[in-house]
Amino acid sequence: MFIVIIGNGRAGSMLAGELSRSGHEVVVVEKVAENFKRLPVDFSGFQVEGDALEQDILKNARVDQADTVIVITGNDKVNYMVAKLAEHVFKVPKIIVRLTDHKKLHIYNDSKQIEVVSQYDLLVKGMLDSIGRIEG
């Protein structure tokens, strides 16, 4: 599968490494060149340096050909903007977005292609599960 990952922070680089290792074609877009150092040594995909809010950068990363776009920067506003660009301008079939503030979940309500992963919901769910294990 051809996957474009927007954002190469701690989460993005880990994901990029895992996907590349399991045989997917991966392109990573990151604004700060220094962050590319986070990628593991056996990451063999492309690295695109630039601001994902610019359509040219997304075009460079071949978002138009992507099977899946993963938007995983730490900024909800940027994530929303890029996800919408991917959905409407580049017509990507599947978009997965990281959500920091779970109260903003409703902003994605109208999009069919976008799947939202809310980090604090996951965290809370994980904590609750641990408590459940202790009590049960």
Binding site: F2, S20, R21, S22, G23, H24, E25, V26, V27, P40, V41, D42, F43, S44, G45, F46, N60
Partner: protein
């Protein structure tokens, strides 16, 4: 887990991967038997190839199982570890490839190793007399060039190895990513390479070369190797079309696989925007007429012959192929000087060629212009220098230029040392520069020093030059230093 255990796990993985590459060599050793289709009478040599193949297979298999037993499936290879694999597997591959020459041709160790190194590094210098050599050995020489041109690691990565191999890919002097995954990139390289070889064989056959020679020459031309089945090389065929096909194949071989990929996608404009391609076309377009009209018009009277021979030799030298149609002793000093310069510049990066590589020379020349321009620009100007590489602008920073300058310095130092050894052995300056430049750049043009009667230490110097030139120095140093450091640690 203490560091010694970590090291043990990683070295087991290194041994396992090296084992796979040795098994690959064992399979390759079977391929020369195909020559029996053309020359059924040479059955008495089969046994040497079978024995070497079994020998390699057993050693490779043992290494594989030794490395496989431990739990190391999650280990990522770094560039340094990849370097060790590449270095070890190349040395072992060369060792096993030399065995048929030792037993079958009764050659000495130095001669057999020389021939094999010249094959795997796609050089094409030879100490054999091809007229008396059985066809099965000629095919084996061409096959070594074919495989050495692609590189063992690249072949292995494309279909055999699991994906943890970016370090391995980079260790074999390849950096270009054609597609966003190393396995798909290497598979694409193999497809492009294989496609070119098949079309080369077809073209040669079409213009009247016999099939056996067509197969050998197509492999030797595209791998920029330059082994021939005739002692007169391509000059054996007087037809112009065979020379023309050879020129085209040599050019294809010396162009970066990533550039081929853009061309095959139909992006002609992108292809010609690449600085390296422009640089090469400029050199060929400028130096061919310069040679023709300033010095070689004294040697070749007719304009047609002059153009044919000059163009062929210029392309043969810069592509680091090393087919020759003439004797360089008859050329004037100036012409040979230009050929030496071309051999030092060499072919494209990420291709099958050798030499310093046009990309590096191109960046350094550009960098001189950039520096001059900077002095005449406003003091606070912000400017980022770039070159075109495929669809992308590649920004060139000072770090990158430093790496390139270091490489060129290392190359020229090695060149100087090698030439000094030649001079101390009593050869002339021109001959020494030419012959060692040819070996170091993995070209294969010869001015007459390399032959079966050459002294052993000269052949060993050339072997070292070819080996360093093909694997681009640094990875050999990385590998050697890492092994020494780790051994020191373990013995503590």
């Amino acid at each position: 887990m203490n560091y010694k255990k970590v090291l043990a796990v990683r070295y087991r993985l290194i041994i396992k991967y090296t084992g796979i590459l040795v098994i690959l060599t064992a399979l390759a050793l079977i391929l020369p038997l195909l020559s029996l289709v053309f020359y059924p009478g040479e059955t008495n040599y089969i046994i040497h190839f079978i024995y070497s193949s079994i020998f390699a297979f057993v050693v490779g298999g043992l290494m594989y199982f030794y490395g496989h037993s431990s739990d190391n499936s999650q280990v990522d290879l770094t560039l340094k570890e990849g370097s060790i694999i590449v270095l070890l597997s190349w040395i072992l591959a060369m060792f096993f490839s030399a065995i048929p020459f030792l037993w079958g041709m009764k050659m000495s160790w130095t001669h057999a190793i020389f021939e094999v190194v010249s094959g795997w590094t796609t050089t094409g210098l030879s100490v054999m007399n091809v007229e008396t050599t059985p066809a099965i050995f000629l095919l084996w020489r061409s096959l070594m060039q074919l495989l050495g041109g692609a590189g063992l690691a690249v072949i292995a990565l494309s279909y055999l190895l699991p994906v943890h191999g970016m370090g391995l890919y980079r260790a074999e002097a390849r950096n270009d990513k054609l597609l966003p995954h190393v396995k798909k990139s290497t598979a694409m390289i193999m497809r492009i390479y294989g496609g070119f070889v098949l079309s080369g064989i077809f073209l040669y056959w079409l213009v009247g070369m016999d099939l056996f020679s067509a197969i050998n020459h197509a492999m030797a031309a595209l791998s920029t190797g330059g082994f021939s089945t005739k002692s007169a090389s391509i000059g054996y065929w007087p037809e112009f079309d065979i020379e023309l096909i050879t020129i085209i194949l040599m050019l294809l071989g010396t162009i970066n696989f990533a550039s081929h990929f853009t061309l095959l996608q139909g992006k002609v404009k992108t292809f010609f925007r690449n600085g390296e391609i422009r640089f090469m076309l400029l050199i060929i377009g400028f130096l061919t007429p310069l040679l023709m009209f300033t010095s070689l018009n004294l040697v070749y009277a007719s304009l047609g012959t002059n153009l044919r021979i000059t163009l062929f030799q210029v392309v043969s030298a810069i592509s680091t192929t090393g087919f020759s149609t003439i004797d360089f002793n008859t050329w004037p000093l100036f012409a040979n000087f230009i050929i030496i310069i071309l051999m030092i510049i060499g072919g494209g990066t990420g291709s099958t060629a050798g030499g310093i590589k046009q990309y590096r020379i191109y960046i350094m020349i550009k960098s001189i212009f950039w520096e001059i321009k900077e002095q005449f620009s406003p003091r606070n100007q912000v400017k980022e220098n770039y070159i075109w590489k495929g669809d992308n602008k590649e920004y060139i920073n000072a770090e990158h230029i430093k790496e390139i300058a270091n490489y060129i310095m290392l190359y020229l130092l090695t060149f100087a040392v090698g030439v000094a050894i030649f001079l101390l052995s009593g050869y002339g300056l021109q001959e020494s520069l030419f012959e060692f430049g040819s070996a170091l750049g993995t070209v294969g043009l010869s001015i007459g020093i390399t032959s079966a009667s050459a002294p052993n230490h000269i052949l060993i110097t050339e072997i070292a030059g070819m080996f360093l030139g093909r694997l681009e120095f640094l990875i050999i140093f990385f590998a050697a230093i890492k092994i020494i450091k780790d051994l020191k640690y373990i013995s503590k």
